[in-house]
């Protein structure tokens, strides 16, 4: 009975989809996951903001009063600009009176005193003040220490990584400024000398000049890999489970008296697949609503720019990659007799995907190389590798077409094989078939 009825496939998709979407677990997961992920991002951010909003009281100890003032200004102004970057929305009013603020003794985060009596007694007194909590820490800038560029910071809490590198950066700059001043370079001139380089890369694409957009490209690739990975791990297993469940409950037998195994497999795959896409769709919508203002801002600032071709490739390769891996899960579900067996096989299924992620590096470095070309043709790699190539530098159209064609053909092939294993597998329960047995089934089902 070879003919395939689209009506049956549609009925099976519909049942599979509706039953799953109506399940409480689906609704709970759909709502809960963003809450957890959001929490994971939001709470630490909130915590760090709470910490930084507390004013830190530092003491700069140096015999050179002028140098102490330079260090203080450097720390205050840098803390100020960093703060503006973090809170883009509230920066407007603050930035206006930035200069006047600098003269003020306290910025938002730091109170810095200059102590010009570096002596052992003073040091002991400062240590007492640190332990009693009167100050948060002090910088010991004795002449020897500065000359050796070995400066000690002693504080209540051992300084975090960010703070440490920030501090040393500011001190570098302060010392440079002092050295320049000593050599007769004025403050303004020094600023000019120390202005950092901002590199802009321009990429030539088919004769057109486009601003290379590393950020946008990076995001486009990262999101693809993450989504594909997540979708395959989350929903591939549910395809496997759906097949297994049906096998064990013998619903199959009833269904096979009405529909063919190919129809069942296709319906299951697409139905469960659509559930996954729905969930991911909901999450993406939620995330983008939340992140829209920031995204819009950076997009208008030209920071993130994703080519339309990349977006199309994203949708196509994501869908096909997802289908491909799900169909492998379905095949596994048709062969195994229990979920434990499936878990053992899970790693093997994911292996090509992991390999593809490993190969991303070389392909990104040389998207036009022969290796990149051939690996991006392999169906199990192409959803990631061909997509990466398109995102970086679109390869010739025939290569994209061929890779898509191979991908689609592989999915169809796996589906047909799967349907055969399934049909025979379900009617011989009890033990996992050996590989020779599976081969025999495939041959058998050919007849």
């Amino acid at each position: 009975m070879p003919s395939t009825s689209l009506g049956n496939i549609w009925l099976i998709i519909k049942r599979e989809y509706l039953e799953r979407v109506r399940q409480r677990s689906f609704i709970v997961l759909t709502v809960l996951l963003p809450a957890i992920v959001g929490g994971a991002f939001f709470i630490p951010a909130k915590l760090s903001r709470m910490k930084s909003s507390k004013t830190q009281h530092l003491v700069v100890v140096t015999s050179d009063q002028k140098f102490g003032e330079i260090v203080r200004q450097q720390l205050l102004s840098s803390a100020k600009t960093d703060d503006e970057k973090a809170g883009a929305d509230k920066s407007k009013e603050n930035s206006g009176d930035k200069d006047s603020d600098d003269d003020n003794k306290s910025s938002n985060n730091y109170t810095i005193d200059v102590d010009s009596t570096p002596s052992d007694g003073e040091r002991a007194a400062l240590q007492d003040r640190v332990s009693s909590g009167a100050i948060d820490g002090y910088l010991w800038l004795s002449d020897d220490a500065v000359a050796a560029r070995k400066i000690t910071y002693e504080g209540q809490a051992s300084s975090g990584f960010m703070e440490k590198s920030w501090l040393s950066g500011q001190l570098d700059r302060a010392i440079l400024l002092r050295e320049l001043a000593q050599r007769g370079v004025s403050g303004d001139q020094a600023e000019v000398l120390l202005k950092p380089v901002k590199l802009e890369v321009v990429q030539l694409k088919g004769g057109h000049e486009t601003k290379a957009n590393d950020k946008g490209m990076f995001f486009a690739i990262l999101i693809m890999v993450m989504l594909l990975y997540m979708a395959v791990i989350f929903y591939g297993v549910s395809v496997m489970r759906a097949v297994l469940e049906e096998k064990n409950s013998r619903v199959m037998e009833v269904l096979l008296s009405s529909a063919t195994s190919t129809e069942l497999m296709a319906g299951k795959l697409i139905g469960v697949g659509a559930v996954g896409l729905t969930q991911i769709g909901i999450w993406i919508t939620m995330a983008s609503v939340y992140a829209l203002p920031a995204l819009a801002a950076s997009a208008s600032a030209g920071e993130i720019h994703i080519a339309p071709l990349t977006l199309v490739a994203f949708a196509l390769f994501f869908l096909l990659g997802y289908l491909l891996y799900s169909s492998v899960y379905a095949a596994v579900g048709a062969v195994i007799t229990s979920e434990q067996e499936g878990q053992q096989l899970q790693f093997i299924i994911l292996l090509p995907l992991i390999l593809a992620v490993f190969m991303m590096g070389p392909v990104m470095r040389a998207p036009d190389s022969t290796v990149a070309m051939w690996t991006s043709m392999v169906p199990f790699f192409s959803p990631i590798l061909m997509y990466v190539r398109i995102a970086i530098q679109p390869p010739p159209a025939w290569q994209i077409a061929l890779s898509l064609l191979l991908l689609v053909a592989t999915i169809a092939g796996i589906l047909v094989l799967c349907a055969r294993i399934y049909r025979i597998g379900i009617l011989m329960y009890g033990k996992r078939p050996t590989l020779p047995e599976i081969m025999k089934w495939l041959k058998y089902a050919n007849r």
């Binding site: 049956n8 009925l11 049942r15 039953e19 037998e253 009833v254 008296s257 009405s258 063919t260 007849r447």
Partner: protein, 330 residues
């Protein structure tokens, strides 16, 4: 003597009936619902069904009988196209089995084959739609059947919340919701309490009276004896007996005697009269020796005991089966 039980003969019967069908279809008589012609199925070395032939006529209740593991389920699966025979032919409604035929048949598998988490009515509508009903029609008919079988309050419940008997009823509705010509049921009564079995049996008869053809498999000979018009007895994948139940029994003759007596039972020990007997306490069932005249047994019994009952009986299906299998194995 009665040799109807041999395999070659049972095939002969089916083949003969198939010929009769061909003639009858030329004459415009109804075509057979199912014909199996020497179907064979093996799994690895194990031969599940071995050159099995049978004919199911329209409107009859047909029993596929045999012990567990005889090949009943394998035969049913091939009959409705779930599996394909290694060799042989399956015909349905007078044509080689096609996909389109599945719309006209209903199937009730041996174990419960329903989605546990799905609501009863949704499930029945889904099964009906797969058989080509519109969603609306499927819902209407499923609702009617649920009412008829006392499942009305349960239509909104999930299948897993139903008792085993209820599930079997739901499964039955799933098999008949699209009003099929031909209903195939694998062990429909297994695991059912007597009340549920009764409801199901009544539903059976209702379908039969509506002109449907029914096929069910069972290992319970007494059930088959009460319900079937025709049977096929299979053992080790082979048909041991096939055909009209009444004719099969008549072929075996009245060779059993039920005797109720008080007193000396020495008449039972005469090997010329009695081949074997089975004492049930209240009465004893005697199998006559070959060539023995029941009148001689009656005379022998009255000479030593007082009889309150002496009845010549047709053999039970169970006895026929045991005898036929014994001959086939010999």
């Amino acid at each position: 003597m009665c040799s109807t039980g041999s395999i070659s003969e049972s095939r002969g019967i089916a083949a003969g009936r198939a010929d009769a069908h061909r003639r009858s279809s030329i004459l415009g008589l109804p075509v057979n619902t199912v014909e199996l012609n020497k179907i064979r199925k093996s799994y690895d070395e194990f031969v599940a069904v071995d050159d099995l032939s049978l004919v199911i006529r329209p409107g009859e209740v047909y029993g596929l009988l045999g012990p567990n593991g005889a090949g009943k389920t394998s035969t049913l699966r091939m009959m409705i196209g779930i599996t394909v025979p290694d060799s042989g032919m399956v015909s349905m409604f007078g044509e080689p089995l096609r996909r389109a035929h599945t719309q006209r048949l209903g199937y009730l598998p041996e174990e419960r084959g329903l989605y546990k988490k799905m609501k009863v009515l949704d499930q029945l509508v889904f099964l009906g739609e797969l058989k080509g009903l519109s969603g609306h029609d499927a819902a209407r008919r499923a609702g009617q059947w649920c009412e008829r079988l006392g499942l009305k309050e349960w239509t909104g419940k999930k299948v897993e919340e139903l008792s085993k008997g209820m599930q079997q009823k739901a499964q039955f509705i799933g098999a008949v919701v699209h009003d099929p010509q031909f209903v195939v049921m694998d062990e429909p009564f297994s695991g059912l309490d007597p009340a549920s079995a009764m409801v199901l049996k009544d539903a059976f008869l209702e379908l039969k009276n509506a002109g449907k053809t029914l096929l069910f498999s069972t290992h319970r000979m007494d059930t088959a004896e009460r319900l079937c018009d025709s049977i096929c007895l299979i053992n080790h994948g082979r048909a041991v007996l096939e055909g009209d139940l009444g004719k099969i029994r008549a072929g075996y003759g009245k060779r059993n005697v039920q005797i109720k007596y008080e007193g000396d039972a020495r008449f039972l020990d005469d090997p010329k009269l009695v081949q074997s007997f089975n004492d049930y306490g209240n009465y004893v069932e005697v199998r006559l020796a070959a060539g023995a005249d029941p009148q001689d047994l009656l005379r022998a019994a009255t000479s030593s005991a007082r009889l309150s009952k002496f009845e010549l009986m047709e053999p039970s299906l169970e006895e026929i089966f045991i005898e036929a299998v014994g001959k086939a194995n010999a």
